[in-house]
């Protein structure tokens, strides 16, 4: 005949105890609130930054890059940088299950000269139809047109920061000089921004045909870019190295080491700080309840003699910490949302690394639910042991007065 312990009376008794210690209960609630708020703000902000960087990197870069192994070739320029027999590589790539698409590139060092400025860098000669599958440029366009404009063969697409440095806008012309001395006048057809300086500062696209013609080698390419179906499986990289001599391969983890590490650091930071705060909050509740149980041993003994069972006592004390936890977590979620909102509207000075107007921050419902659950679970856990202790109080020993 185990009676239910979730009775109005037990809840009433618990509330009475909570209100008898308003200040401590309130402080304990604030502890949970801070833990939950911190968790929500940090996880939304950190994953916001992670997602932002991932998006910029993965929508702007291939997963694997195949290039010529320049250590094994005699000259740095011209003939030496071209991939030999790439039709065989193409055939191999077409057979691979995990490859979504691949694109050929003819990349060359060049100097870009505008009316007032010049920029030495590397120019990407691309095939518009292929490159479209590598890079989602349309979404990133700030002005002008995307890859389709490269069909004119005298056009160039450049990153926003580079455009600013060269002081050009769409329709302006730029002179491009290649290492062999050949030069060509190009019209800026489009300006794009990925939001990270590693791309926006240096990236340019021209038609591969244009570069090939200037270099005097038609149909020669320097690189193959690959997009994978499953980005985390880069086995094809090893297969390529084994099968083909004189090539190098680089995957997205190699090319974006700082970002990959940054993401990890941010994850660790989020979880460790939130965990530490919830631990402190939990310990606070544990402490308060423990002291209460010790101070209230007589009352617990009396409750037991007048008919309250051990389970009733567990409930009476556990519900106190659950109430603290639920209230703290609830207001923590609200405050967390408020702070996330403020952060999302805070203007951000463009840093050396990210180019955005406001801080990137996620608003994921799941994180709010998770924060709430963490808050409540912490308090349940913290409240459990003092509650058990309370239920073990032996009324005879206490009433005897020893």
């Amino acid at each position: 005949m185990s009676k239910t312990v979730y009775t109005k009376t037990n809840t009433f008794i618990a509330l009475q105890y909570l209100f008898a210690r308003k200040k401590q209960s309130f402080l304990a609630m604030i502890g949970v609130l801070l833990g939950v708020t911190t968790f929500i703000v940090m996880i939304n902000f950190m994953t916001g930054v992670n997602d932002f960087l991932d998006d910029a990197v993965f929508s702007g870069s291939p997963d694997i890059i195949i290039g010529k192994d320049v250590k094994k070739s005699n000259s740095l320029l011209g003939q030496g940088s071209f991939l030999e027999n790439y039709d065989k590589i193409d055939l191999f790539l077409e057979e691979q299950q995990n490859i979504k698409a691949f694109a050929h590139q003819t990349i060359s060092p060049a100097i870009l000269i505008s009316n007032s400025k010049q920029f030495p860098g590397s120019i990407n000669g691309v095939f518009a139809d292929e490159e479209r599958l590598m890079v989602d440029l349309e979404r990133r366009l700030i002005a002008g047109e995307g890859f389709q404009s490269l069909s004119k063969e005298n056009t160039i697409l450049i990153g926003i920061s580079l455009a600013k440095r060269l002081d050009v806008s769409v329709g302006d012309s730029i002179n491009m000089i290649l290492p062999n001395g050949k030069n060509k006048r190009l019209i800026v057809a489009g300006i794009f921004s990925f939001g990270i300086t590693t791309i926006d500062n240096v990236r340019t696209y021209v038609s591969a045909k244009t570069i090939q013609n200037l270099l005097g080698y038609t149909n020669k390419i320097t690189n193959i870019h690959i997009k994978l179906k499953d980005r985390n499986n880069v086995d094809v990289k090893n297969d390529l190295i084994q099968k083909f001599d004189g090539i190098t391969t680089e995957d997205w983890k190699d090319s974006n080491k700082t970002i990959v590490i940054g993401n990890k650091v941010r994850d660790i930071l989020t979880w460790s700080v939130s965990f530490a705060l919830l631990l402190v909050a939990g310990f606070g509740i544990y402490n308060i309840l423990n002291i209460t149980v010790i101070q209230k041993r007589k009352d617990i003994a009396v409750l037991k003699t007048i008919g309250y069972s051990s389970n009733d006592i567990v409930f009476i004390f556990l519900i106190q910490s659950i109430i603290i936890g639920v209230l703290g977590a609830f207001f923590g979620v609200l405050l967390g949302y408020g702070m996330c909102y403020v952060i999302s509207t805070t203007p951000l000075d463009t840093s050396d690394f990210i180019i955005v107007e406001t801080y990137p921050i996620n608003f994921k419902l799941w994180f709010y639910i998770l924060g709430f659950l963490f808050g409540v679970l912490t308090t349940i856990f913290a409240g459990y042991f003092p509650s058990r202790k309370a239920s073990k109080v032996d009324p005879v020993t206490i009433i005897r007065g020893i």
């Binding site: 005949m1 185990s2 009676k3 009775t7 109005k8 009376t9 009433f12 008794i13 009475q16 105890y17 209100f19 008898a20 007589k298 009352d299 003994a301 009396v302 409750l303 037991k304 003699t305 007048i306 008919g307 309250y308 069972s309 051990s310 389970n311 009733d312 009324p395 005879v396 009433i399 005897r400 007065g401």
Partner: protein, 222 residues
């Protein structure tokens, strides 16, 4: 017969195993006020804790209200106590977070056979009987010892139990209050037809009880 105890033997293991109650047998009927009289340390409290089912670690048989106590589970025991036994302690032990009325209501709210309204009116009429109705909304800690003890008696009666166990209920009170409390307990026995057991070393109570049992070193002297 409300209570029947047969051959109760009780041992404590601290500091070493020693016997505190020796073959105590005793039965109490409705409307009877029985006092257990004896010096301090003679085993009165120990016996009362057993009779009130708080202590089940003893040898012998105890039947209350036709229920064999040793056959009850832990929760069964709490429920049984809640329903059938009222307890009054030497130190009044009201719960200070609650007001007088709430203290009296607590056992009935646990039993939850009646609505809160009914319990409240029951509690108020009991408080009236013990002369504490005007204090109903006062916090328990504001009351004097004698007043607290009267409230404790009201609390012991709220579930209309058949047995009231009082361990030195006047031990901590002055003469006037002692008499008042004893009169109350006597009245309960008479008018409500309950069985009351009082442990005491007050000879006045000893002489004014329906029946008295004297304990010497854990042995009942008849």
């Amino acid at each position: 017969m409300i209570l029947e105890a047969k051959h109760i033997n009780k041992y404590f293991t601290e500091p070493e195993r020693h016997q505190v109650l020796h073959d105590v047998s005793l039965s109490i009927s409705e409307g009877e006020l029985v006092s257990v009289f004896g010096e301090s340390g003679s085993g009165k409290s120990t016996l009362l804790y057993i009779l009130s089912t708080l202590d089940t670690d003893f040898y012998g048989d105890l039947t209350i209200y036709n229920q064999e106590i040793k056959g009850l589970t832990a929760t069964g025991l709490t429920d049984f106590r809640n329903k059938h036994i009222g307890f009054v302690y030497q130190f009044h032990y009201l719960l200070p977070e609650f007001n007088v009325l709430q203290n009296v209501m607590l056992p009935a709210m646990k039993l939850s056979l009646k609505s809160k309204k009914e319990i409240e009116s029951d509690a108020l009429s009991l408080l009236e009987e013990v002369g504490m109705k005007s204090f109903a909304k006062r916090p328990a800690y504001q009351l004097s010892g004698g007043q607290q003890q009267r409230v404790a008696i009201a609390r012991a009666l709220i579930n209309n139990p058949s047995l009231i166990v009082a361990d030195e209920p006047t031990g901590n009170l002055d003469q006037k209050n002692s008499e008042l409390i004893f009169e109350l307990l006597k009245e309960i026995t008479g008018s409500k037809n309950k069985a009351v057991v009082i442990a005491t070393h007050n000879s006045k109570i000893y002489h004014n009880s329906d029946r008295s049992i004297e304990m010497i070193d854990g042995v009942v002297r008849l």
